[in-house]
Symmetry: C2
Subunit: 480 residues, 2 copies
Amino acid sequence: MITSADVLVVGAGLAGLTAARAVSQAGRSVIVLEARDRVGGRVVGHPIGDGKIIEMGGQWAGPTQDRILALASELGVQTFPTYDDGAKVLHFRGKRGTYHGAIPRISPLTLVDVARAQARLESLARRVPVDAPWTAPRAEAQDGQTAQTWIRRNTASHAARTLLTLGIEAVFACEPGDISLLHMLFYVRSAGSFQRTIDTTGGAQQDRFVGGSQLIAERLADRLSGRTAGATAAGATAAGATPADGTVVLGSPVRRIRFSDAAVTAETGAGETGAGETGSGQYTGRRIIVSAPPMLAGRISYDPPLPHWRDQLTQRTPMGSVIKCQALYDEPFWRAEGLSGQATGDGEGARIVFDNSPADGSPGVLLGFLEGDEARRLGRRTAAERRQAVLDSFVRYFGPRAAAPAGYAELDWQQEQWSGGCYGTLFGPNVWTRYGHALREPVGPIYWAGTETATTWSGYMDGAVQSGERAAAEVLASLD
Amino acid sequence: MITSADVLVVGAGLAGLTAARAVSQAGRSVIVLEARDRVGGRVVGHPIGDGKIIEMGGQWAGPTQDRILALASELGVQTFPTYDDGAKVLHFRGKRGTYHGAIPRISPLTLVDVARAQARLESLARRVPVDAPWTAPRAEAQDGQTAQTWIRRNTASHAARTLLTLGIEAVFACEPGDISLLHMLFYVRSAGSFQRTIDTTGGAQQDRFVGGSQLIAERLADRLSGRTAGATAAGATAAGATPADGTVVLGSPVRRIRFSDAAVTAETGAGETGAGETGSGQYTGRRIIVSAPPMLAGRISYDPPLPHWRDQLTQRTPMGSVIKCQALYDEPFWRAEGLSGQATGDGEGARIVFDNSPADGSPGVLLGFLEGDEARRLGRRTAAERRQAVLDSFVRYFGPRAAAPAGYAELDWQQEQWSGGCYGTLFGPNVWTRYGHALREPVGPIYWAGTETATTWSGYMDGAVQSGERAAAEVLASLD
């Protein structure tokens, strides 16, 4: 088993694998150490029979996400449009309504209230430099308040606040009080605009990947190690080739990183299977790229300890709260009724719903997100209670047929120890302005990747790819 | 070496040692596992010759801190009053002034502005239940905003905001944007009032301990293990006695806790000395009390993983930012000039200063705190630059004699890997309301102590003692 390489990479998600690929393509050897027994990180598929899967993690791509789309294309992973025909459902303040286009049928006063606040947000976001949000014109004031404070000040009605809160829950998997205004502005700026983060066609939810998004990570891992699909915890194959060999070692959480200026040792502990010392080992390299989110990077022990500005950053970068729930039906019955399968509501259960059926529309799949407080609340209940709450909400949106799915699957990302939550990192007040500079700054031979470190589409798969390419470039430059 | 006991305790600070003592006194055996090569945690002394020390961590006690005072008394550690005679210095907006009593000589308008805001704060704080801040009447709104937001809304002048900010820096070692309003209210409520947290005589800084506060921890450890002072990494002595034997094992950071309902194994890694496998070991018990702050508790690996509400709590509990700096002079020259040695300022360097001379007034010691942004900023400079900035501020307060101390010592708590910062945990927005319930809730055989879990004097040494006693009582009840 190979335990030494030019570059070590912590994490076999899209960021880590992209970094490893770039390192390998430059003729340097690389070992990717992954805690889980699979690659993909926050991107994972769930088989539903007939060779089909549903995505349980990150799944969409859209306009301007050029990096993830190019990567998928190169790897032969095709896209198809998210189902977006027909009417959308809004269940708001106890009433259900349907609408076409972007504007729900609610009180014009509320619509104006929301539109005005959103226009202000978009305007403020345009002034936030994505590579250094702490230099924004009013960074200090914007970072010292929560998004909740800003929304309360910039809306006239409770209804508008509720709708904007739904938007934040959907985009961040948290409540408006969890993040600073500056973080909200940075995040939507890195995506282009708030509108783009919430749109389906024309936005971040426009397209899906045939076979599921995890396929991209699996093919990256396969090409890296020169093996075919089904990588397991094992070493590399033939040595000496160019591009250099890469190895992906599964079930090997990195627990400790010991380093000097020019060398690094990564110690791995037992994997999540809890199988005693399985997976424990030592790997050495000249550089290491940590692609885990900052919070998880902070749970690795460093010897010597990291500078306090980096350590205190990782103390202040919690993950979001989301449970992804999907119900399978014999057919997407809502389509025949002229509904898109997209729904939004302010009640209990799933507040954001999509038609998540496979490309051929069979089976019919409704995807509901439990986000922020609903994820926290229902995450403490039994799986049966949670399922019932989700199906109850589906019934409110789509009628009684939704009550009896043929199948059901959920993934509570809060309970995933190797993610700590999803979709991504929440920057609360005074984190960007006090610690943002430490997000990408290398420490000796240690470099940082992961979608949180991206400047475009931070928090998305596209940002993961950007971050991997950037970190690899930094490492390769340092090795020249 | 004894590696099994009824109860394991993680951390030999005041909370862990107090818990261990209570367990031992009840006739149960206990092993305390400490990462550092010393006991005391955030309480530590620094020898300055002649058998004297200066306190580099927590050091004061005051009225209503009955637990720490009783414990010290029982252990034969005496108190003496913090030097509080003479005038105080305020260097504000470029001007130096002195004053007696509680009211500085500044614009009456500013004083009224501050007093009004403080009165509102005290009033709001009185309505926060210390055992469940999330049930406060306006908890949702108070937790959704930062203390900074509240201060901006409740003051009329920039000068008042600056003074309140100084107060928060002094009490929390952070900036007002770092914490939620609800946390500020909880914290001062748990101390009695905001006034009590900032007062010297009559408040939290009233008294000091002869020989230094660490003496309390050292004597606790000595009595626990039936040994004399100078405990090192070693096992216990005679077995079978009542109270049951206790062992304090130094240099043994707990890296992993494996548990079932009735048994627990703590795996320790190498200590901070970085000496390879030194200190690694396995300890077993029926229960375990983790007394490390939540953030550090979150960096321990748990098998099985903890429930997500506990894990996400530990992602959201960063430590404060403080560097404690002390300059030694042949004599406390400021006393002869009618000055108390206490100073406050809004400039660079130390913004809060105390006379920290030993009980007999020799040598003269000025203690300056770098807190919040100043700790973060100066923590990135060299030790020489930091020292200069602190001495420059001392000169502004006390004149040119302060420029040339006979000795100087500092401790940057941000860089202490086994604390992660000081004084304590900062609860940002939406943490108390979303995760507060998980702060003390046991998980199987795992119980939680540490001053952050206290309901009275949370964040202080007194709170540490309360938390240790409470956790021990929970464990003992579960063992009956």
